[in-house]
């Protein structure tokens, strides 16, 4: 192979040479060359070794979909050398060959071919069973493909949304015509072309084709209504015309995923040339007619010296002319429209001779086949179409499409450029019309009040585009490769059918035909036909396989895009960061776990005063006459008589009686309540209230506003908390003026609009101050400043967890699980079964009648130094009797403390338990009388 002199349609820029390497050796190509064309121009013939037999492989299609041209480029595996343009300093190497392409040690598998029949691995390696792990390692070593490194150059990826009226997939003549006319009709159009240039097959055609190409592409590129994306691929059409495009060649990024909601999709993806199955059909030098035409006309590469051509169609005949013009000696033309065909290609590292069906041998280094087409119906499949095989044309054709999908070009039929353009034009106009119908429907639904003329309802007449008659040519009389990526031969398909894998789907799964990186794009029709032959049915009677997304493999990087992951921060976060708080991920919040010494933080709270940022606490502002009704319904306890200024604790259960949140609600005014929920449960509670208000009790007068982010919430806890808070507010904090479980509103540190409630998760005297968020950091810093002499210290979640455990307060989701109903948590006092109704009431009623459920219990190990890890099991012998749900070493008590869920027979105070530690050792423990390990009377809290 060598470079030709200048061609009229060539896409290479001879003024811009590109130096790159192939397997470590220097090569030179030109800008516009694919890796494959640049190498071919320098005489490279073998590009890869095959998956199973390690046979040498060369150019077959010279396009993206060439199974033999998968190479490693730097740290990127499985690059399509038939598509990827060569770049300066690119490092390209062959995959799947060891030690070298020329000599591949695993090529020994070729000799073993007759034993490596389909599914051979299902039939062996079974005994002795002890050797199976060794077999696994050997088999794994034969995995094909490129290499990923632990630390590669990161790629740059991006996403964007698009809302075109019409999206045209495929930039051949019909696709371009459709785009132009849709845009002319006023539609906003996106035109997507997989290759680097528009034009489809016109690019490698004659001067008329090139003239038409120039005219069409100029019209497309200059039209303001058309956005053109080349080197981009429509990877999928999903429900409701949600279309994904992997766009390359965008400045600043390697790839971008465009997610388009398309009003009308035009599929103009054309056809792919189909290989022919015969002995030796995978030898380097066996090429499709489109491959040689691409090489000659686009890249000015002479694909061989002496060629045999097997042609069954006009484009194949044109390839002969191209070959001759390129100075390739055409030794023989075998016309497949008659009875003649090719039996075999022979040679070692490439074609050396061709044997035809008359038994003649022709010396040649190139065998060109043109035996038919595969329609690229993937996108149509995804739109619900089940294309039918049309024997007259020897290919699948579309059967029925939804309203918002149209097809044009080779996927529909054949024709002259004019006919293709005429069809595309009509389809483009119809697509614009249908898009306007969809848009009208959407516009009438958008609330912005824009009015529009109703769209034209009369369909545009589309001229017929018939698929030409074509002989059915799939396999010669000798066997050869059907699936190049998977090394599946026609013989394998016969063997699978004989073994009973006699539906196409089973045969596919058994032989792995169509399952490789090319996804059956080249071989699907051949596989179906040969399977049909093997089972005595015609392809028409055999089902086709389902094409699944993506249309072409798409990088994980572009699918992920920029990886934005929402995170929430409290307004006090800058302070936490300055103090190097250990971050704790809690749902989407990032919170301070501690500031270096959680035990000291506990001590500060117990002995002096501490402040904790509890801003993520859920807060819902409730207004209206019927708020008490709502509270009465969603909480298990009673709410009708909550006075202004009071706060009450409540538990919420689902309709199955399972606890899902707890919190306090306070009455701030006659018709104004503030509900709090756990941080993790905030969104769920908000949605739950909305659900009941909208679907259950739409007549109730309740106005609800989620104000979680409106307040920075700071809990000031410890014996000195009253003194500290008192230094910042005029609110009367005396116990008789502001008692436990009460709420006050007022000014704190000069900030109006605060509310305070006197509650205490830590068990200490404490005030939870809710400050309008913008001032949260200010108040936080004032507390630290004003409390310096009182020993104030910030504490984190860990210290809070320790203290709440000392107090025996449970955490929903940690001390409860997905099946814990209300009575299991020792809150029977709160569950008011005499209320007429509330969420979950029937289940709680039935639970109260039973005695078979686990109870929450405070547990202490007999050895105070042992802290059983959370989730340790409570056992009686091998029987599980419960588990530790929370455990810590208590700095206050100087011993280990736990909460756990325990079977009813062990839940009574004083019961002796056995806890199994992770090393299997069992330790004894006992159940306490109260949940609280510390200050069970609550004297500190109420003080």
């Amino acid at each position: 192979m060598s470079r030709l002199s200048e061609r009229p349609g060539e896409v290479i820029d001879r003024t811009r040479p590109m130096d790159f390497s192939w397997n470590g050796k220097p090569y030179r190509g030109y800008a516009g060359d694919s890796i494959a064309s640049a190498l071919a121009a320098s005489g490279v013939r073998v590009f890869s070794r095959s998956f199973k037999y390690h046979r040498p492989r060369g150019i077959l299609t010279a396009s993206f979909h060439d199974p033999n041209l998968m190479v490693q480029v730097g740290d990127e595996p499985n690059v399509r050398a038939g598509h990827r343009l060569v770049e300066e300093k690119m490092e390209v190497s062959a995959q799947n060959a060891w030690p070298s392409l020329g000599f591949d040690a695993k090529g020994v598998n070729r000799l073993l071919g007759r034993f490596l029949t389909p599914g051979f691995y299902y039939k062996t390696f079974m005994s002795p069973r002890s050797l199976w792990p060794w077999y696994q390692r050997v088999l794994a070593r034969f995995a094909a493909g490129g290499v990923v490194g632990v630390d590669p150059q990161p790629g740059r990826y991006d996403h964007r949304y698009a809302h075109p009226d019409v999206l045209v997939a495929g930039g051949g003549p019909a696709g371009m015509a459709a785009a132009i006319d849709a845009a002319e009709a006023g539609a906003a159009v996106i035109l997507v072309e997989e290759e680097h240039r528009l034009g489809g097959h016109l690019r490698w055609g004659d001067s008329d084709d090139l003239g038409a190409l120039e005219e069409l592409s100029a019209a497309v590129l200059s039209h303001p209504g058309i956005e053109v994306m080349v080197d981009s691929v429509v990877t999928g059409r999903y429900d409701h015309n949600w279309v994904a495009i992997a766009q390359r060649g965008v400045e600043g990024v390697d790839e971008r995923l465009v997610k388009a909601r398309v009003k009308c999709l035009v599929v103009a993806t054309g056809t792919i040339e189909r290989p022919y199955v015969f002995e030796g059909n995978d030898l380097p030098g066996v090429m499709l007619s489109t491959a040689v035409r691409r090489l000659i006309n686009l890249h000015a590469v002479r694909p061989g010296e002496r060629a045999v051509v097997l042609s069954a169609n006009g484009p194949g005949d044109s390839a002969i002319a191209d070959l001759e013009e390129a100075g390739v000696e055409v030794a023989e033309v075998i016309d497949a429209r008659g009875d003649d065909t090719v039996i075999k290609a022979s040679g070692r590292m490439g074609v050396q001779g061709v044997i035809d069906s008359r038994g003649r041998r022709h010396d040649a280094d190139l065998l060109v086949t043109a035996v038919g087409w595969t329609t690229t119906t993937t996108l149509l499949n995804m739109a619900g179409d089940r294309p039918m095989y049309e024997p007259r044309a020897a290919r699948y054709l579309s059967k029925s499409l939804p309203y918002d999908v149209l097809a044009t070009g080779g996927i529909v039929g054949d024709g002259s450029t004019d006919q293709l353009v005429q069809h595309g034009t009509a389809i483009g106009r119809e697509a614009a019309r249908r898009a306007s119908v969809v848009k009208f429907q959407w516009l009438t639904a958008v609330p912005t009040g824009v009015t529009r003329q109703p769209p034209d309802t009369s369909e545009i007449e589309v001229p017929p585009l018939e698929a030409e008659r074509h002989p059915e040519l799939f396999r010669s009389s000798t066997h050869g490769f059907v699936d190049y990526s998977e090394d599946v031969t026609s013989k394998d398909l016969f063997a699978a059918a004989a073994e009973g894998y006699d539906s196409m789907e089973l045969a596919k799964r058994y032989t792995t035909v169509n399952m490789g990186p090319i996804q059956g794009k080249l071989e699907a029709v051949n596989a179906v036909a040969i399977h049909g032959e093997a089972t005595g049915s015609s392809p028409l009677e055999t089902s086709t396989t389902t094409w699944r997304p993506p249309y072409a493999p798409v990088s994980l990087g572009v699918l992920a895009g920029r990886q934005y992951e929402p995170v929430r921060y409290s307004v006090i976060q800058p302070w936490h960061e300055r103090r190097e708080a250990k971050p704790l991920v809690a749902g989407s919040w990032i919170r301070p776990e501690h500031y270096g010494d959680p035990v000291a933080e506990v001590t500060a709270v117990r002995e002096a005063v501490g402040i904790i940022d509890v801003s993520p606490l859920g807060k819902i502002d409730l207004r209206g006459r019927d708020v008490p009704k709502l509270l009465e319904f969603v909480y298990v306890n009673k709410w009708s008589k909550l006075d202004v200024g009071k706060v009450r604790y409540g538990i919420m259960c689902n309709e199955d009686g399972v606890i899902f949140d707890d919190g306090v609600t306070g009455r701030l005014g006659a018709d104004q309540y503030m509900m709090s929920s756990t941080s993790g449960g905030a969104a769920g509670v908000w949605n739950w209230l909305d659900d009941w208000l909208q679907t259950g009790f739409p007549d109730w007068d309740v106005k609800m506003t989620a104000v979680t982010d409106g307040y920075a919430s700071i809990n000031v806890a410890g014996p000195n908390s009253r003194e500290l808070v008192g230094r910042l507010t005029e609110i009367d904090l005396r116990p008789e003026a502001f008692g436990y479980m009460e709420v006050r509103t007022g000014v704190v540190a000069g900030v109006p609009g605060c509310f305070l409630w006197r509650i205490g998760f830590t068990g200490e005297l404490s005030y939870e101050i809710h400050v309008p968020s913008a001032y949260g950091l200010w108040v936080w810093e004032r507390l630290l400043e004003k409390g310096e002499d009182l020993g104030v210290r910030a504490f984190g979640i860990e210290a809070q967890r320790i203290m709440r455990l000392e107090k025996g307060h449970f955490i929903v989701g940690q001390d409860t699980d997905g099946l814990t109903q209300g009575h299991g948590m020792g809150v029977d006092w709160a569950i008011k079964l005499d209320k007429p109704d509330f969420a979950g009431k029937p289940e709680l009623m039935w639970q109260a009648e039973r005695d078979d459920y686990r109870r929450l219990a405070a547990i202490q190990t007999e050895d105070p130094a042992i802290v059983p890890p959370e989730a340790s099991q409570i056992v009686a012998g091998d029987v599980i009797k419960g588990r530790i749900t929370s455990s810590r070493m208590s700095p206050t008590l100087g011993r280990s403390i736990c909460l756990g869920q325990v079977d009813p027979d062990l839940a009574a105070p004083g019961s002796r338990l056995h806890i199994r530690l992770s090393d299997g050792v069992t330790v004894a423990a006992r159940v306490l009388e109260h949940h609280a390990h510390f200050d069970p009377e609550g004297t500190r809290l109420r003080g």
């Binding site: 990127e76 990923v148 990161p154 992951e565 971050p583 990032i590 940690q814």
Partner: protein
């Protein structure tokens, strides 16, 4: 089983030399007008049930009716992960038996199902998930199951591509490590059971759709199919995705919502990931097959559907999550995505057992865990059909629990899936 058809390396060699074909793995049969047992669904569950009915209980007048081809449903669409590190004692006991059956399945069926015990690692990104991992490990250990919690260093040595660095959003704090877990060639399990059942006389009717069930005085009488009626006293519903619809034919209502579960596979690359890696918080699981492909799965789709078309959001979400775990593989390419149907129950436990209609049994509601339970479900259902009542292994999973209010506790572990 026909000795001449026995699979072995020697057999492969012999047939390679003589270039002769292997005999058929199963045959086509005419539909009889009566069978002792009609099994609906030719997936792992249905075929395993048929096999164990024949092998363990001598019941061979059995038809498996499959509306498409065998293994076309969930059995051919799952990500083929096998493990037994479940949260509840009943769950882990049950799946442990399944792992045990899988370990011996190749020898038992004379069909290499390629069970690769690469180890199964469930990552914890938060304290609460670490606590759940510990919970599972402790319950597992009590059942004698190899399961423990490991730290970031050991994680890194088992799977060097995992990003165990200081990660703001999804730090890897630890993992549940389960060495016996692994992957298996799902099609091979289907074919192995089909071949072995067929050899014992079971009729496998592909392309045969159940269209109705006739119930006479509270008993199953006739299975109506697209190829004719079958008189029978026993019908076993072993379907996934259509369980509610099949049960409805017998007048039985189920607590099931069908949701698609999507999966994807990449192009092959050289081996770099040995264990199966799961992240519950990121709704992702990944393993590398012997062929070099990465196989991915996620959680069920956000809304109920009988569609198996797949979505872009699955692909983008999955890629985002996988790259959180393994940023180095961004240049690998997704080759194919697909979906299977999962019948989700309220407590994430299956429904196996009799129903209010005599002779109508269900083995349904497998959610996302059906494939790994195939062998043990088949064995247990066969035992139940033969004895007329469920054995102790499946007793906790009866339909009546939803009216008795005795749900299984596996829901607690649902977030960590697969």
């Amino acid at each position: 089983m026909n000795q001449k058809a026995r699979f072995s390396a020697w057999g492969l060699f012999k047939r390679g030399l003589t270039r002769s074909h292997w005999p058929r793995v199963w045959d086509h049969h005419e539909l009889r007008d009566s069978y002792d047992v009609v099994i609906v669904g030719g997936g792992v569950h249905g075929l395993a049930t048929a096999y164990y009915l024949a092998r363990n209980h001598g019941i061979t007048n059995v038809a498996v009716v499959e509306k498409s081809y065998i293994g076309s449903g969930g059995s051919g669409r799952n990500t083929a992960i096998v493990r037994s590190n479940y949260l509840t004692p009943e769950g882990s006991k049950f799946y442990d038996r399944s792992v045990e059956l899988y370990e011996h399945l190749a020898a038992d069926l004379n069909f290499n199902v390629m069970f690769e015990q690469r180890g199964h690692m469930t990552l914890a990104h938060s304290d609460s998930s670490l606590r759940t991992m510990r919970w599972r490990a402790e319950v597992n250990k009590l059942q004698g199951i190899d399961s423990s919690v490991i730290g970031p260093e050991e994680i890194k040595s088992l799977a060097p591509f995992l990003d165990t660095s200081d990660h703001p959003r999804y730090p890897i704090l630890g993992a549940l490590w389960h060495p016996p877990g692994g992957i298996v060639r799902h099609d091979a399990v289907v074919w192995g059971y089909a071949r072995a059942a067929a050899a014992l006389g079971v009729h496998i009717h592909q392309g045969t759709e159940l269209t109705g069930i006739e119930v006479e005085s509270g008993r199953v009488a006739v299975a109506q199919t697209s190829r004719g009626d079958i008189a029978t006293s026993t019908i076993v519903n072993c379907t996934a995705g259509w369980a509610s619809l099949v049960a409805k034919m017998a007048g039985v209502r189920l607590p099931i919502i069908t949701r698609p579960l999507q999966a994807a596979v990449t192009e092959p690359v050289r081996q770099f990931l040995h264990p199966v890696v799961v992240s519950g918080s990121l709704h992702t699981y990944v393993s590398q097959t012997a062929r070099g492909e990465l196989v991915f799965g996620a959680s069920v789709d956000p809304f109920a559907s009988y569609s198996t078309r797949g979505s872009l959001e699955f692909a983008t979400g999955l890629a985002t999550h996988v790259l959180e775990l393994m940023p180095a593989i961004s240049k690998m390419r997704m080759l194919r995505q697909w979906a299977g149907l999962c019948d989700m129950t309220p407590d994430f436990g299956p429904i196996i057992g009799p129903t209010p209609v005599d002779g109508f049994y269900v083995d349904v509601g497998w959610g996302t865990y059906g494939f790994k339970a195939g062998p043990v479900a088949g064995e247990s259902v066969a035992e139940m059909v033969a004895n007329g009542r469920p054995g102790s292994l499946i007793e906790p999973f009866g339909l009546e629990r939803f009216h008795a209010g005795t749900l299984t506790a596996e829901k607690g572990a649902a977030a960590v899936g697969h």
